[in-house]
Amino acid sequence: MAGFMKNRLRECVDHLRSKGVDYADCRYVRREKESLNVTDSNVDAMSRNLNVGVGIRVLNKGAWGFASTKDLTPGALKKTATLALKIANASAMTVKDKVLFAEQEAFVDHYKTEFKKDPFKVSTDDKINLLVSCTDILKNSKKIKTTQASMDFYKINKLFISTEGAEIEQDLLESGGGFYVVSFDGKEAQKRSYPNSFGGDFATRGYEFIEEMNLIDHAERVREESIALLKAAPCPNTETTIIICGPQMALQVHESCGHPTELDRALGTEISLAGGSFMTVDKLNKLKYGSDIVNINADATTKGGLGTFGYDDEGVKAQRAPIIKKGKFVGYLTSRETAPVIKQRSNGTMRADGWNRIPIIRMTNHNLEPGTWELEDLIKDTKNGIFFDINKSWSIDDKRLNFQFGVEAAWEIKNGKLSGMLKNATYTGITPEFWNSCDAICNKNHWHVWGIPNCGKGEPMQSAHVAHGTSPARFRNVKVGVSK
């Protein structure tokens, strides 16, 4: 698809090479998005979006410049390349140490997402009927105030060409969806979602991923749980044992392990927006981040993960990198610029939110490896505690130490059994203390890669599509129930 752009990008790269730049890359990105949203059985939004353009990154005099344009004509691209060089020269006015850019094999390749059913070819009727059927079931009670079901699909064609000779084309496909329901009794309102909150679950797969969610089969249970929450007891304010469900573990990994192990954060280059990291370079291979059963890998090759791709946006091949090994902090997410600081090569995590953004370090599939427990056995093994299910709120400090997360629903565990439902449940902790209190992780039967399509970072803001393979896990002596 990007064939007609190849020569134009090559011309841009040649132009910059002729100017003697240290390095340059040009990225063409064509992104199609389709969104469907059904509220209370009415289609209140269906939209398609097409976004196409080219971003040009230049390293000159040891400093970076980037310019991007929607105008794909050769003249506009050459002008944009010249502007990127001018911007790099402006950056050089403040540079103290020149950028060290790690060497990289120049790949020539074409990567494609594997899928069975192209969601853009599935009839609109089929998609709408599925979403309407969900909300028909969800709204079937006087206590239900709002029901909403949605799907989103992305088709991305990318072409990357660099002064080093890399020519990489990628065709990525993403599918996702889910639903939520709001119950109301005149005083209280409670929300419940499936399969995850804030849009559901996402993957680099086709429409078969939507079908495998069995959305309709879960609608009645979710509706009834939402209604039950109206009469649930508030989460007690205490310290106890907690078991966290898979999707909430995804959020836990995301906020307290994914972000703090981004090397750009650890080196201070994200301070102005998202903050830094307590996992500073001096702690690498020393910090006991978690208990011995905690193993976390950043794996951009996980089959179907939302953070799965062929190459990152500076031409580094997708790979699996250890982050936490038997509880010890052993690795960062890195780029070609940051990896040399810790005397390593990039592990391929630089991704841009489209043609008009620079690549920055992003999580890929930041996976908590499965443990040995069946969930049923884990609950039986827990005398007293609370089970936390599906994220509702999230907050963490700017070095990723103090966190407080809330969930849609929780259940008390009494004598090894789930008992009363709890509403507005929260838990809070300090990251390494919390992960060192992890004494059980469920096995691969409970492991799922949860797609998160809205990870914010950078200025201007970029939204990344990332994922976390997780299974339910148990933590001891956790403070719960701080709600106001």
Binding site: M46, N51, K70, G186, S272, S395, T426, E459, K484
Partner: protein
């Protein structure tokens, strides 16, 4: 920049070809540059030239939306037809009121030539001044300086023709020592309004004063919340409480409380896109003129913002707060949030605190914990101080708060006369304009190590 006449001429050609019953076109064009710095040098420096064009077409009560950034005539016609094809596949939406009719909107001056011409070199020179102020104290600094221009147009087949050019400039900076940090920020339509040296001095002073912070135990304290901190809270309350969707879903803390007193009577919060003290903008993404909407007036819950679809549901009229067509199922949203000033002076407010905490800003707030009770949680950041006997005694390590927005505003003691314009999520078409607050009760629920 294409310009009003040329843009209308191009878009009317496409509008005239539409075979839909009603057709709406929203155009958003933007050229912007941003220099980002950290560890006292520019590490990211970017420019973007982009635009987005949305078609919303209506067949009876069937609605389709399609958008693209490809703007030649054939691509536009394709996008229009795509929108009609989407509409054809839809069931009737009984809640759709039809597109708005034309209405006169206020003339506002929202464009500055100097800002439009501000170059990457000029941005770098401004950043060098910020770095120089930090070098004096041997602090490092991180932040960003951005300038941009754009134009927004809304046309529809019922005769709506709305157009507005805009410029914007914003800066934020965090000065850092080994043990502390300090923050300053500003936003304006004019880059010449950004006094980067003055702002750098504020950030440096906060960083300097908060060095070697002491640990204060969580608990209930009096607080002085500076404008950036007030903004963080208001942005979240706007998101979960002041829009039509959470209100109609009964998730908002205003739902069921209209006419009831919910905060101190000193508190008035409203949206006003027409007030040039804000990043003003005269109409919404349906071309409906913006109106001032009071959310909380002298402590009493008053109302929320509406677009035309949400307004129909509540049997009222749009207040001019529609979002872009691809997001309009999310309901109406305020972009120019104000908290009304009081009469106090900032220094006097601090001197009236016997024992309390001054918060420069918050980090990573979240308001989804218990929306109906307006419960928020978040961390302090970049300049948190202990006040004792009316004086700032020392910097303190950061704290987590978890409290009800309405409850803590119920304890308002004083509000500053001066307000500041603070950048929020909406950059070029909105911001918050807020004072400093002195609250009698604010609940800190946790602490961290720095």
């Amino acid at each position: 920049m294409i310009g009003k006449e040329k843009l209308f001429k191009q878009l009317e050609k496409v509008l005239d070809k539409s075979k839909a019953d009603q057709t709406e076109i929203v155009y958003i064009g933007r050229e912007s540059g941003l220099s980002r710095f950290a560890n006292s040098y520019i590490h990211q420096n970017v420019y973007e030239d982009n635009s987005q064009l949305f078609f919303r077409t209506v067949l009876g009560k069937k609605v389709g939306v399609s958008s693209s950034n490809l703007l030649n005539l054939s691509d536009l016609n394709k996008c229009l037809n795509d929108s009609i094809e989407i509409a054809k596949t839809q069931p009737e939406n009984p809640n759709f009121p039809g597109l708005p009719k034309p209405a006169k909107y206020k003339e506002l001056n929202t464009f500055d030539e100097t800002t439009a011409k501000f170059s990457p070199n000029e941005r770098a020179k401004a950043v060098k001044k910020i770095i120089a102020e930090n070098n004096r104290k041997k602090f490092t600094v991180a932040g960003s300086l951005s300038t941009g221009i754009g134009e927004i147009a809304v046309l529809n087949s019922l005769g709506v023709r709305a157009y507005q050019p805009i410029s914007s400039a914003s800066v934020n900076m965090i000065s850092m020592s080994d043990t502390s940090s300090g923050y300053a920020t500003s936003i304006s339509r004019k880059v010449s309004d950004l006094d980067v040296v003055k702002l750098a001095k504020i950030a440096v002073e906060k960083c300097d004063r908060s060095q070697n912070p002491i640990q204060v135990e969580p608990g209930e304290y009096e607080v002085i919340l500076e404008p950036a901190a007030v903004t963080e809270m208001l942005v979240w309350m706007n998101f979960v409480g002041f829009g039509s969707k959470p209100f109609q879903q009964n998730m908002s803390f205003l739902s069921g409380n209209i006419g009831k007193k919910i905060t101190s009577d000193k508190i008035t919060i409203y949206d006003n896109g027409l007030d040039e003290k804000s990043m003003s903008f005269p109409f919404d993404f349906e071309g409906v003129p913006k109106q001032k909407v009071i959310f909380i007036g002298n402590g009493v819950a008053k109302g929320v913002v509406y677009d035309s679809t949400a307004a129909l549901k509540d049997k009222t009229k749009s207040t001019g707060h529609a979002v872009t067509p691809d997001e309009n199922n999310e309901g109406a949203f305020g972009l120019n949030i104000f908290m009304a000033p009081g009469t106090a002076k900032r220094d006097q407010m601090i001197s009236n605190v016997k024992k309390g905490i001054l918060v420069t800003r918050f980090h990573y707030l979240n308001g989804f914990i218990d929306q109906r009770n307006s419960v928020l949680t978040g961390m302090t950041r970049d300049g948190t101080f202990l006040i004792e006997n009316g004086e700032i005694k020392s910097g303190i390590k950061n704290l987590r708060f978890t409290d009800s927005f309405a409850r803590c505003l119920g304890s308002t003691i004083a509000i500053s006369k001066e307000t500041e314009r603070i950048n929020s999520w909406w950059d070029a078409i909105g911001c918050t304009t807020v004072p400093t607050l002195h609250l009698g009760s604010f609940k800190f629920s946790g602490k961290t190590d720095f």
